[in-house]
């Protein structure tokens, strides 16, 4: 799905960049590690790209990019509402959204409302309510002719793109199974400092709170789930059943997320896939995907084994840069890419897996989309100093799956 292969018909409306120039003027919302990385990737991806405004919840997080790109004080915005101020600037035509994923849906919706092209980090939501906001805003982006690319960089990595073309052309036959993994050690922790309010600490330490990160199945493993969805031509799984827990990483500084998940997704035709992710220091690493068909299998990134053996031998590029190249090229060509719905759907898979594991209930996608009432979108007017107790980590039988009505059921097992 490179820029060349996806032509959005009817998207030839007025381009949302500065009149009389094809300069891409970028605002960065969320200037932490990933936001900074994305800003630099964006600038190096194409000529005529300038970082012109910054927003972050915290002044100290914003300093590095401010220096890197000499952004003046009056174009640096701080606070939980800073993104609104940035998005109100008329001269910006592209925004990078890289705040914690819990904030993404309202920020993305506001960006589209304001007519900005968007590069947004994955995942794009942590709950179905948020994912629906993203899908709605993506539809609006299409209407407005705006480009939307998500930071699932594998979709822009040449060896993945070429492999997927072949899988879609039938090189491994009909898909009958798939596996994907993100098994690794731990990530950084931001310990609570004296005087930090609940909200401030949870945002600074956002990886470990479900409302902020979506848990690691959503925050990290979405990459791999997205690849499996891609292999299935973005047809979504019909049902999900997950297990998971918090067995090793139990210190309160790790918030309320799990340290492992194992989820079974059922795609149409009763095709079942394995999804496994773990964040426990010192355990075996495996970050990969594998799809299996009636004629062979593939690692999704350059290798096909079976009736149609093949190995990718073409050029390789830095996919973290390539995704920006593809986005900007598509904007300039007047045929903007729009990955909003697709990344929202892959994010939804991760959220479904998480909710199934939290509750140990099996449910359908249809139930989740139509009946699940979970809404973790931060309240309008949230303040850094607000009290926000950390909910306990989910325990089956105690965790209330929002909207779930327990059916009477006989003893099993």
């Amino acid at each position: 799905m490179t820029a060349g292969t996806l032509v959005l018909s009817g998207a030839a409306g007025p381009l949302a960049y500065a009149q009389g120039s094809d300069e891409i003027r970028v605002g960065v919302v969320g200037c932490g590690g990933r936001g900074s990385g994305a800003a630099h990737n964006c600038v190096s991806s194409s000529p005529g790209v300038k970082i012109v405004a910054l927003a972050d919840a915290f002044e100290d997080r914003l300093r590095k990019l401010k220096t890197d790109f000499s952004v003046p004080d009056n174009r640096c915005f701080v606070g939980l509402d800073a993104y609104k101020q940035l998005l109100a600037l008329d001269d910006i035509n592209l925004v990078i959204l890289a705040t914690p994923p819990g904030f993404r849906p309202p920020q993305f919706a506001e960006a589209i409302r304001r007519g900005k092209n968007v590069f947004m980090e994955k995942p794009v939501a942590v709950c179905p309510a948020g994912a629906k906001m993203v899908i709605e805003a993506s539809d609006l982006a299409t209407q407005k002719g705006l480009g939307v690319v998500a930071g699932t960089q594998r979709r822009h990595q040449f060896e993945y793109v070429e492999t997927m073309k072949r899988i879609h052309d039938g090189a491994i036959g009909d898909l009958v199974s798939a596996q994907c993994y993100w098994n690794m050690g731990g990530l950084w922790v931001s310990e609570r400092q004296p005087g930090q309010g609940d909200v401030e600490w949870q945002i600074r330490n956002w990886l470990y709170f479900t409302w902020a990160s979506g848990d690691h199945i959503c925050e990290q493993h979405v990459h791999n789930l997205d690849v499996v969805n891609w292999a299935f031509n973005d047809v979504q799984p019909e049902a999900v059943h997950g297990l998971g827990g918090r067995q090793y990483r139990t210190d309160p500084k790790y918030g309320n997320i799990f340290d492992h998940f194992g989820v079974e997704f059922t795609y149409p035709g009763d095709v079942k896939t394995i999804s496994m992710c773990r964040q426990i220091e010192g355990t075996a690493n495996n970050v990969s995907e594998r799809v299996v068909g009636t004629k062979g299998w593939s690692d999704c990134c350059g290798t096909i084994v079976g009736e149609n053996n093949w190995r990718y031998r073409g050029p390789r590029s830095d996919a973290y840069v390539q995704e920006h190249t593809d986005l900007i090229k598509s904007i300039r060509a007047g045929k903007p890419l729009n990955e909003g719905k697709r990344i929202a759907e892959s994010t939804l898979c991760a959220i479904m897996g998480r909710e199934s594991a939290y509750s140990r209930q099996q449910f359908t996608r249809s139930w989740f989309m139509n009946r699940c009432t979970l809404n973790l979108v931060p309240a309008e007017g949230l303040k850094l100093s607000d009290a926000m107790p950390v909910p306990p980590a989910a325990v089956p039988g105690q965790y209330q799956l929002a909207g779930w009505v327990q059916e009477r059921r006989g003893r099993r097992g």
Binding site: H241, R246, Y248, H260, K272, A284, T294, Q362, G397
Partner: protein, 443 residues
Amino acid sequence: MSSQVNTISGTHAGVAAGTAAVLAGMAHAQGSDKIKVGLLGCGGRGNGALQQDLQADPGVEVIALADLFEHKVRRTRDGLMKREQIKDRIKVADDHMYWGYDCHEKLAQCEADLLLMATAPAFRGRQLMAAIKAGKHVFTEKPVGTDVAGCKEIMEASRLAKEKGLAIVCGTQRRHEFSRVELMKRIHDGAIGELVGGQCYWYGEGIWFRGASEGMSELDWQCENWYHFTWLSGDQICEQHIHNIDVMNWCFDGPPAKITAVGGRQWRSSNQDQIKSAKEVCKRFNNGSEAGWEKYNGDIWDHIYAEFEYPNGARCLSFSGHSPGTGRNGEKIVGTKGTSDCRIGISGANAWKYEGEMVDGMVQEHKDLIASIRSGKPLNEGQRIAESTLTAIGARIAAYTGQVVAWDWLMNQSKQSLVPTQAELMSGKPLYHAIASGRDPMV
């Protein structure tokens, strides 16, 4: 392992051929069609297995009973004697009732032809070894061990049984259901093409938690509440899910090459009913104090999600545990030409549904066992069930350690031994292992 499949189906033919099988060189009474049976483990499953054995063959006579606890032995004999249809086949003399931690040794020395084993799985290795050394045929419940050392002892006893012409049949009854046997023949003959994936599940609600009754030592209580301790039960993946894992191994004609798994136990650790019971047990053994109650809450996990990679590269899901949530039980195998529920049918290019006689596998396994003894061609499922047990244990190790567990490592490098020696058991000391962390060392 396909040879065993053939043997089993061959046995059906043997059964059909009638009861005129020649009694040749067998370990049961010369010139008699009686099979003298001793039962080891007089709990629910032991009584069930005994009933099924009696039902399988009219020549079965019960001559000995053994259990850790005297009251269970007596209760079992009393119960059997009250049943009109079978009481004349119950010939358990007072001196053929054995109890205590060495009851299996005493039982092995009696004149039984066939021993049924249904105690907690921890002790199966030494029980089976003692029985085979003493020349007994064996029916053993699954699983047959809780650690690597135990499984290896089963493999050794199984080799010895082969040398001595003794039968070992195991309570993985799916292997004896005609429908599954016929289905597996087709799968092995390529009806669904090359096997490229599969899933198996045993997820259910929780299980009993037993308190400590009067007169019990702490070790006695652990053995009575055996399910909750990994060294005694092997954890749920081993104790229960082994049925489904065994079916997957059956499909692939052997164990996986590599296992990866995740899991945990937050539900068991926060289940208030169970915690209350654990505290009661703690008080009972600690002069009324609740301090340190946690170890009485057991150490098994409540879920394990594993991937088995078989030697041909196929990766299969194993999904097991206990907690509130959606129950699952069953298997599915996926090939390049179709799929099967591993139970009754095949869909795909060679769609097929079994329409023959349905049998109760839990009786049929005893029929097949006894027929094989009578025909002088004893079935020996020891190696196979040790491999399936070790597959479950391997998945547990992968989950407990967070490492990838290779079959070669299990067979050649692991030194894991969780079960106390016989001498340690006789000393009566309880044994508690720490709850696995998810990154335990590989042993």
